[in-house]
Amino acid sequence: MIRALYTAASGMSAQQLNLDTIANNLANSSTTGFRQLRLQFQDMLYQNLVTPGAAQSQSTVSAGLQIGLGTKSAATEVIMTQGELNQTSNPLDLAIEGSGFFQVQRPDGTTAYTRAGQFSLNNQGTIVTSDGDPLIPTITIPANATSVTITQYGVVNATLPGQTNPSQLGQIQLVTFPNPGGLQIMGGNLLQQTLSSGSAVQGNPGGTEGLGTLQQGYLENSNVDVVTEFVQMVLAQRAYESNSKVIKAADDMYSQVNNMTH
């Protein structure tokens, strides 16, 4: 019975974490490039009261008696489905259609990865994220350049004064990972490479690596489906409730035993 109390408590704390994750997904349902997270659970160790197949005095037991000790959260899975593309008409807004990531240089010199393509220019004309981190490879657009176009294959062109044909200013490259779900989330729409994600594979958009292509003037919305999250929230709530009922039942049974009269 004491087991039941701890088991139910493990269920309640798992559902609490689940609700935290759902709340974060909902809060970010309109964050550009946000990736939905889902918590995964595992069952905990089992206590063997009777081992299956053990010989007893009279016969061999065909099935054992094993009591599970609850649940625990195992991993947070990043759901990597495509988000919807929203038209913004800003020439430096880029959306990736496919599984690639942009590379950006953090102030500490490390490389981070993002799906949020809200780029702008800094005071030197370099393409940077909304936090001011430069895009890798660095591309600078002169102040007097007009009609910046970025093709779906990542080629950045602009017309310079006195020229009729646009000149190529750079090539945007994307990366992918053996296991994109293993990237570490750093906040600020940024992700970081980990041992579990594997090393980044770099290439031009539209190549054979499955990086996807770019859409200029579009931003990728979060891939959180609000309706699904609401359903998950109701399920988490009910599961929390039933685990709390177990605690009540165990407590009632225990108190009855304590108050048994002879």
């Binding site: 139910a8 099935a63 009591i67 599970g68 990597m80 053996p178 296991n179 035993v257």
Partner: protein, 248 residues
């Protein structure tokens, strides 16, 4: 006198059995959101080899609720929920994925797989998922599609097939935690015949919250019955016996 005492112990054993059953019900409910979790169902067996049913209804009732004989995995299907992740897989029908662990091959219904850092298909615990031939499966980067037969294709070319295995009827699998099950020794897994793989979905636990709550209420009431029976056996019968015997 012997009959009365054995009834008393039967009721006591029944009460202990209910508390064990409550532990299992708690574990089933705690895992209501665990992918591929198979609920445990207890079965009870009578406590006395020679039940008192012939002459005492109370004795028979108590005896029928005897001790927990063991528990079996409920292998019924859980609900499939789409996730959108290309390497998430769910089994519809009877069967298990095979996983290579430090302790040997284990079986699971939790198909939340991903590409490991060495490019192999692995579980959430980073353990390789095995093919139908029992080998780890290397999945090169690229667009993945998984057929109902478990064949994995990357960019249109087949790279391997995820194995789905089943066991002879009546095999008792032992849960190990981490969503893994272990077959008894000397039992060999065979290719599942009535199973299909669904890509981009996970199978939920087969414990629904409503059934779990009902089980809980039943367990509580049965425990109350056992406690009442204990009191009757102990107090009423002994009192009657003491009073009647003194008159003889």
């Amino acid at each position: 006198m012997a009959g009365m005492d054995s009834g008393y112990y039967a009721a006591l054993a029944g009460l202990v059995a209910r508390t064990q059953a409550l532990d299992t019900a708690a574990s089933n409910l705690a895992n209501a959101n665990t992918s591929g979790y198979r609920a445990e169902r207890e079965y009870f067996r009578s406590v006395l080899l020679d039940p008192l049913g012939g002459n005492s209804q109370l004795g028979a009732t108590v005896n029928d609720f005897g001790v927990v004989g063991g528990d079996r995995l409920d292998l019924s299907q859980g609900v499939l929920t789409p996730t959108g992740n290309a390497l998430d897989m769910a089994i519809e029908g009877q069967g298990f994925f095979a996983v290579e662990t430090a302790g040997g091959v284990r079986y699971t219904r939790d198909g939340s797989f991903h590409r490991g850092k060495d490019g192999r298909l692995v579980t959430a615990s980073e353990e390789p998922v095995l093919s139908s031939a029992g080998k780890p499966i290397a999945v090169p980067p690229g667009e993945v599609s998984v057929g109902m037969d478990g064949v994995i294709s990357v960019a249109g070319g087949a790279v391997g097939a995820v194995g789905v295995f089943d066991f002879p009827a009546g095999t008792q699998l032992r849960p190990e935690g981490k969503n893994r099950y272990r077959p008894p020794e000397k039992v060999a897994a065979v290719a599942a015949k009535a199973a299909s793989v669904h890509q981009g979905a996970l199978e939920g636990a087969n414990q629904d919250v409503i059934q779990g709550s009902l089980d809980l209420i039943m367990m509580q009431r049965q425990a109350e019955t056992m406690q009442r029976a204990l009191t009757i056996f102990h107090t009423e019968f002994n009192k009657t016996a003491a009073e009647e015997l003194s008159r003889v």
